[in-house]
């Protein structure tokens, strides 16, 4: 059974391994994680959470078939709220794919119309 501590450490390690190397800004440049930062405990907690979430999402993208550097680039373009919504829910979210299902829907609709009309 994993304690809350163990789980947090795991998340931190994942973030450090996968996310941090991508975040080191050069001298003179301010990092993207500083956007909309105010000095407050809530903002600091938000920043830490975002950091952990981003590492997690990058790791999840990799497990879904994306190479590490592409995963980092894709995560970097997400907002904090978007990252939060993705973390841990990535398997359940809709993934737009194709209109192959339209044929089935069309058959159902045609069937219903026909049945309703001719039944009268």
């Amino acid at each position: 059974m994993k304690s809350v501590w163990t789980r947090t450490i795991c998340r931190l390690l994942v973030a450090l391994m996968i996310w941090t190397p991508f975040q080191i800004a050069q001298a003179g440049m301010i990092g993207a994680d500083q956007v909309a930062t105010a000095s407050s405990a809530a903002a600091d907690r938000g920043a830490v959470l975002s950091y952990l979430n981003r590492g997690e999402v990058a790791s999840q993208l990799q497990s879904l078939g994306i190479d590490p550097s592409t995963a980092q680039q894709r995560v970097a373009a997400l907002s904090d709220q978007e990252v939060q919504s993705l973390a841990q829910r990535i398997q359940a979210m809709p993934a737009g794919a194709s209109d192959a299902g339209a044929i089935l829907l069309l058959l159902v609709v045609v069937g219903v119309v026909w049945w309703f009309f001719f039944r009268k």
Binding site: F22, I24, A25, Q26, G28, M29, I30, G31, A32, Q34, V35, A36, T37, A38, S39, L61, S63, L64, G65, I66, T70, Q73, R74, A76, A77, L78, S79, D80, Q81, E82, S85, L86, I90, Q91, M93, P94, A95, G96, A97, S98, D99, A100, G101, A102, L104, L105, V109, V112, V113, W114, F116, F117
Partner: protein
């Protein structure tokens, strides 16, 4: 399509609208039209004020989708409409998830930012989609065309209120006409998810004062991250391009000003860099120390005295 005699007597001009009404009435008999397509029911009463009866954005390009890749195709449609040079193939590595055989909504929003456009999720409103179309902006909508899994991105490019139909680029169909009720029924299943992507100095017609700032901030954050990555690679020209786009969307962003100043200085363009660096310093705030460092470094490079370190004025 088979029509009842009463409907046929409606007249040619209203035939399609009548068919749409008939279809809606049919659904109503089965489940309750208000449940299936509530916003369409409201539309049938009359066109919202200020909107034309018919809009079609014929200039919007068409990219027939490859299997499972309606995401890249729909996104390419949006980006190219706003002047970005790209193709569905180029977008596959940015939005497509092989293991899910599709593209996630938030990644569609994110990928648009990487091409210098501000992406914005519309309110869950049929009328808002029409407003965006009337303003000349194509809209990507997420539909569910199957029983449980059938998620599909299509691009709304127009509507015809008299005929009661939406016009979409969808799959391999350049011009798909969908009755309002059917469109709403398949679109409702995604929670009426719709997005637009606009150039950084523009604002969507339906931009909501409570949600638009967050969309701009998300664009700003993505641009800064990408520019930092370019800068770290030594690609200063790319970093500059990205940051200038960010400046257009968020002209008061201290981080953008600072980072653009640094990027210009790194290209030897100190004279251009200095005013930006000064502007960043003048703004104060949480980044005051970092911006002062940037400004002072530029001054040193130019052989000018740094404020607070030299008794003699330059």
């Amino acid at each position: 399509m088979v029509l009842l005699p009463q409907v046929a007597a409606f007249g040619a001009r209203n035939a399609r609208l009548a068919a749409g009404v008939f279809f809606c009435a049919l659904l109503a008999a089965l489940q309750g039209c208000a449940g299936i397509a509530p916003q369409t029911a409201a539309l049938l009463e009359g066109m919202p004020a200020g909107l034309p009866e018919r809009v079609e954005l014929t200039a919007v390009p068409f990219f027939p989708q490859a299997e499972y890749q309606c995401g890249p195709a729909a996104l390419a449609t949006l980006l190219v409409s706003s002047g970005v040079k790209t193709t569905p193939e180029a977008l596959v590595p940015q939005v497509y998830l092989p293991a899910r055989k599709g593209s996630l909504q938030v990644e569609m929003l994110a990928a648009a930012r990487r091409h210098g456009l501000v992406s914005y999720q519309l309110a869950p409103s049929f009328v808002d989609v029409m407003r965006e179309l009337a303003a000349g902006t194509p809209v990507v909508v997420l539909q569910n065309l199957g029983i449980s899994e059938g998620w599909h991105y299509a691009v709304a490019v127009g509507y015809d209120w008299k005929l009661g139909q939406m016009i979409l680029r969808s799959g391999v169909t350049e011009r798909e006409e969908m009755p309002f009720a059917v469109h709403e029924a398949v679109w409702k299943r995604s929670g009426y998810w719709a997005m637009v992507a606009v150039p950084p100095d523009r604002k969507p017609a339906t931009a909501d004062a409570s949600r638009w700032p967050a969309a701009v901030a998300a664009f700003e954050r993505a641009a800064i991250g990408e520019a930092n990555a370019s800068h770290a690679r030594g690609d200063f020209a790319a970093a500059e391009r990205t940051l200038r786009a960010a400046m257009r969307a968020a002209p008061d962003s201290v981080i953008v000003q600072n980072n653009l100043a640094q990027t210009l200085a790194d290209q030897g363009r100190d004279a251009e860099a200095l005013p930006l660096a000064e502007r960043a310093v003048a703004a104060g705030g949480p980044h005051a120390a970092a911006t002062r460092e940037t400004r002072d470094a530029i001054l040193k490079k130019m052989g000018r005295s740094v404020p607070g370190t030299d008794l003699k004025k330059n």
